[in-house]
Amino acid sequence: MRRGRPFLLLAVLPLGGCQGWQSALDAQGPAARTLADMFWIFLAILAMVWLLTMIILVLSLRRRRPADADPLATNPDTERRMTVTISVAVGLTLVTVLSLTGLSYAAQKVLFARKDGALTLLVTGQQWWWEVTYEDSQPSRVFTTANEIHIPVGEPVLIKLEAGDVIHSFWVPSLTGKMDLIPGRQNQIQIQADRPGLYRGQCAEFCGLQHAHMGLLVIAETKEDFERWRDRQVSSATPPSDSHRQRGMEIFLSKPCVMCHQVRGTDAGGKVAPDLTHVGSRRYIAAGTLETTRGNLAAWILDPHGIKPGVNMPAVRLDPDEIQPLADYLEGLK
């Protein structure tokens, strides 16, 4: 497989800083924190049970009978002692699992309680990207984006989950547990972030060829930043001002791109692929796979199957002098 350039070496995030950016134990929201605490409690109790069992097992391997003892002979005292010990052990096991069940149920009550929030999103899973629609009581304020979710810090956000084709699963570990997106059903999940930051997630239910590259990014920001972002997203694409990008737009509109993609404010109105109205403002393209740079945009357009084999985007034939303006135009859609 050929690649235009070693994109993945361009990881801007310093390696140390992203160690936990998709980790269930790096909790950045109330739900994930409850779950992480629960995990440690379970781990402590269960590790103790394991250790105790193993100590008794090792002790049991000492030889207590004489070599010539009759294997069928039993000592009633020993039998009784062992029966009592085992009964106590089974009783303790029962108490342990019942308490863990109770703990689990109590946590469930807290975790799945719906808090009232101002913001509701609809996320639709597609092979292999996430369509994100921000709902609003005013129809003109409703907009659609892809693979990148912005949320205000400290507020619960309700996400409705639907699937466009097969089953997917929405999972942003540092915010909360996962929930499946199932065709013909609607599930819901609530997320909340404590502090501004980037929280990565990815599809957790096997959904075909590119299940591995179905990432998404949750960006938590302050209320003001979020509102500013949202206002920009609602607006249509600004027409390019320089001739170079203008040419890029013409190329875009004359190619098959428009059959699938939408750029609001132009004639491109395709609905089956990610909305590109503000694609330049998103940090990643190809569902969390490539940083949004001109080079990566060009590479993705020229050879999507080299980067994500099996993806639904076709490779578009472009003349050499068309690539640069097109990539520049898309990158300029902030």
């Binding site: 993945l8 990881a11 992203c18 980790s23 269930a24 134990l25 994930a32 409850t34 779950l35 629960m38 995990f39 379970f42 269960l46 590790a47 394991w50 069992t53 193993m54 097992l57 049991s60 207590r64 294997p71 069928l72 039998e79 062992m82 085992i86 096991t93 699992v97 019942l98 863990l100 069940t101 689990s104 469930q108 975790l111 092979q127 989950l161 084709d165 097969v166 699963s169 999972w171 909360t176 547990g177 996962k178 199932i182 065709p183 013909g184 059903r185 599930n187 990565r200 990815q202 599809c203 957790a204 096997f206 959904c207 590119q210 299940h211 591995a212 990432g215 796979t289 084999p309 099996g310």
Partner: protein, 633 residues
């Protein structure tokens, strides 16, 4: 039957042995080999085939670990990787996990209950051939690059007609049908053997624990497999004839498939684990030099496990958005299964505690089983909790968990069982020195492979991904895991070498090299076609410990005909003499006809109609009336 028929109270010694061997023997040549109904011949093939599939499944795992060793590795594409993990799961579950337990039952149960052949020996032979054809079907498809690629679970709609065009998913669904037929047939044979063919005096509380385990297991198989037959058959109908069972647009339901699949899928893991409890019981008792502590508790735990295993399938579906209260019921029932499993573990430890453990290779692997299986069981408690499961479900944490319980709970006891019964199967001992090396290599390799996966899952690595981005920070643990997998695989190569070299050059084993107490050790090693010259009478749970040199026997069975003793179900009083079928080629032909019908029905529903004609002809040959030698009393 004629009154002048020779009976085993009229001859004795070598002459009796030779005559019985002639009556019960298998003919020479290829036709003889395909006609045989000897449970030991079929059982040997069954075990060898299942272990071959274990190696094939292991090879596919090694290829996957090579691909995952480095981020964005370009060794293979997603298409091939998806086929690999599908083949790995499917092979390990359907072609190794379930059959290996049944294979051991086919070989050992008749010996352990003291009879000469399994009930329905022709059905048993047929079941083996059907299983082989099912395994061949899917592996040939894989080699031709048309193997299934939707996972061993084949969730709809991904496996449905719209998102999996072609025949890939059909190969998977039809392979299920093959293994179903085979599994249910063997289960029926085992149940009837245990109920009706026990040696006189083997009352219910004298049945060896291994036989109990296989009996309960057979019942679980009979009740669980129809659910997956329904799932795979309705999936094929959706794909082939345009039904809409799972199509939400037409009123179907994608979750219905998951319920059907897991209603089988969870009992399935107990179907894999229950026979292993039998191996553990047998080995712990023999190498503790003490009868099992808490026999009744162990048997009741087996039965409880069998029942409870049907009550917790929903814990595979905690993230599908089911009602919360219902889900927490399944939390409780999933955790409760820890009780019978705990009782078994405690009873085995008590047996060792009061015994005099002999540290030979089989016992080493059982100690390994305790370490690994208990750890896996405890991570299972985490998964049973609905909230915790939302974080770890479908991640590498789950992969780690079920490899701990399946490899710890099935493969380690299996290796112990192979070391333990190898002298009975072949008449030679396996190398003890290699066995020690094998154990440590397997134990360290296993933990190096699977322990880091817990951490990877918590770090956010989902299952079933063919690659991952370097910036995710999963690279070093994956590399470590892949190196561990190489070590673990090496242990299996050593195992194979030990098997092959010991079969040719191992020390000759007597009938009872471990000084064990159950009946299979009363027969020669390897057992003669008739198993026992005279049917033993059982007075104790460990007959060979109770009667070291003078096992009491029954006399009066025919020497010239294949006659078996039928006993009553609960207290095993001698009841009838019954002849058991002679060898026949028809089961093999019927299996071929079945294969034609099943494979044809992947392409056209009419195959069910026209394919039934050759099958009916084969069954006519199979059941063609023969002059009866029965004498009813």
């Amino acid at each position: 039957m004629s009154p002048d028929e020779l009976r085993d109270d009229q001859v004795d010694g070598p002459e009796l042995t030779a005559r019985l061997a002639k009556t019960w023997g298998t003919d020479k040549g290829i036709i003889g080999a395909l006609s045989t109904v000897d449970h030991k011949v079929i059982g040997r093939r069954f075990i060898a085939t299942a272990i071959l599939f274990l190696f094939l499944g292991g090879l596919s795992a090694i290829l996957m670990r090579m691909q995952l060793a480095l981020p964005e590795n370009r060794l293979m594409g997603p298409d091939f990787y998806n086929q690999l993990f599908t083949m790995h799961g499917t092979t390990m579950m359907f072609l190794f996990g379930v059959p290996i337990g049944e294979a051991f039952a086919v070989y050992l149960v008749p010996l352990m209950v003291g009879t000469r052949n399994i009930a329905f020996p022709r059905l048993n032979a047929y079941a083996y051939y059907v299983y082989v054809f099912g395994g061949l079907l899917i592996w040939v498809a894989f080699v031709l690059n048309i193997g299934p690629d939707v996972g061993w679970f084949a969730y709809v709609p991904l496996s449905g007609p719209e998102y999996s065009p072609g025949k890939r998913a059909d190969f998977w669904a039809q392979m299920i049908t093959f293994t179903e037929v085979s599994g249910i047939a063997v289960a029926i044979s085992v149940i009837v053997t245990v109920f009706k063919f026990r040696a006189p005096g083997m009352t219910l509380d004298r049945i060896p624990l291994f036989v109990w385990a296989e009996l309960i297991n057979s019942f679980v198989i009979i009740f669980a497999l129809p659910a997956v037959v329904t799932a795979s058959a309705t999936l094929m109908m959706d794909r082939l004839v345009g039904t809409h069972f799972f199509n939400p647009a037409e009123g179907g339901d994608a979750l219905l498939y998951q319920h059907l699949f897991w209603f089988f899928g969870h009992p399935e893991v107990y179907i894999i684990f229950l026979p292993a409890t039998g191996w553990v019981s047998a080995i712990v008792v023999t190498f503790s030099r003490r009868q099992a502590f808490g026999y009744i508790a162990l048997v009741l735990s087996l039965i409880a496990t069998g029942f409870l295993s049907f009550g917790l399938w929903v814990h595979h579906m905690f993230t599908t958005g089911l009602p919360q209260l219902g889900a927490s019921f399944f939390t409780a029932s999933s955790m409760l299964i820890a009780i019978p499993n705990g009782i078994q573990i405690f009873c085995w430890i008590a047996t060792l505690w009061d015994g005099r453990p002999v540290f030979r290779t089989p016992l080493l692997f059982i100690v390994g089983f305790f370490f690994i299986f208990v750890a896996g069981g405890l991570s299972g408690i985490m998964l049973a909790s609905v909230p915790l499961d939302t974080q770890v479900h479908d991640t590498f944490f789950v992969v780690a968990h079920f490899h701990y319980v399946l490899i710890g709970g099935n493969v380690f006891p299996l290796i112990g069982a192979v070391y333990y019964w190898f002298p009975k199967f072949t008449g030679r001992m396996m190398s003890e020195r290699l066995g020690k090396w094998h154990f440590w290599l397997a134990f360290i390799g296993f933990n190096a492979t699977f322990f880091p996966m817990h951490i990877l899952g918590l770090m956010g690595m989902p299952r079933r991904v063919y690659t991952y981005l370097p910036e995710m920070g999963w690279g070093s643990l994956n590399l470590f895991t892949s190196l561990g997998a190489a070590l673990f695989f090496a242990s299996f190569v050593l195992f194979l070498y030990n098997i092959v070299s010991s079969a040719r050059r191992g020390a000759v084993a007597g009938p009872n090299p471990w000084n064990a107490g159950t009946l299979e050790w009363a027969s020669a090693s390897p057992p003669r076609p008739q198993n026992f010259d005279r049917i033993p009478v059982v007075t104790n749970r460990e007959p060979l410990w109770a009667h070291r040199d003078d096992l009491p026997v029954v006399a009066g069975l025919s020497v010239e005909n294949r006659e078996q003793l039928v006993t009553t179900v609960t207290d095993a009083r001698a009841d009838l003499r019954e002849t058991t079928p002679e060898p026949s080629i028809w089961p093999f032909i019927a299996a071929i006809a079945t294969a034609i019908l099943f494979i044809g029905s992947m392409f056209t529903p009419w195959a069910l109609v026209w394919g039934s004609v050759p099958l009916a002809l084969a069954l006519m040959g199979w059941f063609w009336p023969k002059p009866s030698t029965e004498d009813e009393r």
